[in-house]
């Protein structure tokens, strides 16, 4: 769900860049050196996940996982996602220098929202409740990213309204897929290594 270079208007690009810069600064400040390896690992998982294609009906989509990244990292999700997207831009030309701010924000802001909404719940004792929250987390993270992409396009020009709507509709199956995957993944981590779900670990 990258927005390509050369499409968005200057005010949207500047707004995205400054919001991202502020949030990345805050995320870096909150991140202790001790956490650096974990943040880097999740940054790379976010990068590698985008190379994993999962079949869905006749087509396939790549994983996004910004919900899980947010759950595990909190504010450090901003620098982590920024770094991964910068690598994607340099290695594969997905996104680029001017859209890096907007693209980071559309991915990382939902991650933070998910962190605040679900971080506590998914660690709770009640398994069913935790997994329900995990589904909402995966679903919501992609939905919010879609809404942010759509917003960036519509603020650039009214004529992008239809494109924005199409992008949102096209992401509906991805939302469900990410929800299901997040359920299984959180379930797995709760069983196998619950301490990963702790922010300070």
């Amino acid at each position: 769900m990258h927005i390509s270079e050369g499409i968005l208007s200057a005010p949207v690009l500047v707004a995205g860049a400054s919001l991202t810069a502020t949030a990345v600064g805050y995320g870096l400040k909150k991140m202790a050196y001790k956490q650096m390896p974990k943040v880097a690992i999740l940054s790379s998982v976010f990068f590698v996940a985008s190379l994993i294609h999962v079949p869905i009906g006749p087509s396939s989509v790549h994983l996004i996982l910004n919900g899980i990244i947010g759950l595990l990292l909190g504010w450090a999700a901003f620098p982590a996602i920024l770094v991964a997207l910068a690598f994607q831009a340099i290695l594969f030309q997905f996104g680029g220098p001017t859209t890096l701010g907007v693209n980071t924000f559309t991915m990382a802001f939902p991650a933070i929202i998910c962190f605040y909404l679900f971080n506590r719940g998914i660690k709770g004792k009640n398994n069913f409740f935790a997994l329900t929250l995990a589904f909402i987390c995966g679903f919501l993270s992609v939905l919010l990213s879609g809404i942010m992409v759509a917003t960036a396009l519509v603020f650039t020009g009214e004529l992008f309204m239809q494109v924005a709507k199409l992008i949102l509709i096209a992401h509906l199956p991805v939302m469900i897929l990410e929800g299901v995957l997040t359920v299984f993944c959180v379930g797995f981590l709760r069983k196998v290594r619950p301490e990963i779900l702790d922010l300070d670990a």
Partner: protein, 246 residues
């Protein structure tokens, strides 16, 4: 393996100081992103194509790359001509194809591809390590630079971990389909990647502490800013500014 496809080579652009390349690429991208007139944009596209030629990259691979990253642009071509109001040049059933819409989609295509080409010619011709190192000299926060070094290192380990787990799946006759079993398997695969790399990150950090890590990374190879870097930078920047004035 994740390859830095375009970073191998010995052209002028490959040898140019990464700091110069980053500054020029940022300037070019920013200016093209806010330009909406055709004359300067054609010049910018030519300039971008020229840089690709100077970088002596394989044209076929550059074109292949362009095709892949133009999917978003393709979406615009499908939608914009129909959603734009204005003079209709062709009526398809009840849908009118708008001249303005096509013009606009075309404009965005040139802008987007110019920026992508310059990105390939200037940024992708340096290794990630050199670019990140250069960003440190360009006053990017120390912590962010370290995070990038770590993260780039781990991308390769995690990717090979993924390939290993994926091979294990294949050996056991796993076939990805649209069903819960597939999604569960992929989720567990991700989970396993997280667990293993989490353990690894703990080990690496402890090893670093043992070796006296105090939150500072020392880089061993240093850039030297020489005459050809200076001239190359000045020529490119004046071309970009010159085109803007057209």
């Amino acid at each position: 393996m994740i390859k830095e496809k375009f970073s191998e080579g010995d052209s002028f652009l490959h040898k140019l100081d990464p700091r110069v390349k980053i500054i020029v690429a940022l300037l070019f991208s920013a200016i093209v992103a806010v330009t909406d007139r055709y004359t300067p944009l054609w010049g910018d596209l030519l300039l971008a194509a020229g840089l690709i030629i100077i970088a002596k990259l394989k044209i076929r691979e550059v074109i292949l790359r362009l095709l892949v990253v133009n999917s978003f642009i393709l979406l615009l071509w499908i939608m914009l001509p129909f959603t734009f109001s204005g003079e209709k040049i062709y009526i398809l059933d009840s849908l009118g194809v708008s001249r303005e819409g096509i013009k606009y989609a075309f404009l965005l295509t040139i802008k987007s591809n110019s920026i992508i080409l310059v990105g390939i010619a200037l940024l992708s011709t340096s290794s990630i390590y050199n670019l990140v190192h250069a960003l440190l000299h360009l006053y990017l926060p120390d912590k962010l630079v370290q995070l990038s070094f770590f993260s780039y290192r781990y991308i390769h380990t995690i990717h090979s971990e993924y390939i290993r787990l994926n091979n294990a799946l294949k050996v056991r006759g796993f076939k990805a389909q649209t069903n819960f079993h597939t999604y569960k398997t992929y989720a567990y695969l991700i989970g396993m990647m997280l667990v293993r790399s989490y353990d690894r990150s703990k080990r690496v950090y402890n090893a670093m502490l043992c070796r006296g890590f105090k939150g500072k990374f020392w880089t061993l190879n240093h850039f030297s800013f020489n005459k050809s870097d200076f001239i190359g930078g000045i020529v490119m920047i004046s071309c970009i500014i010159g085109l803007m004035l057209f």
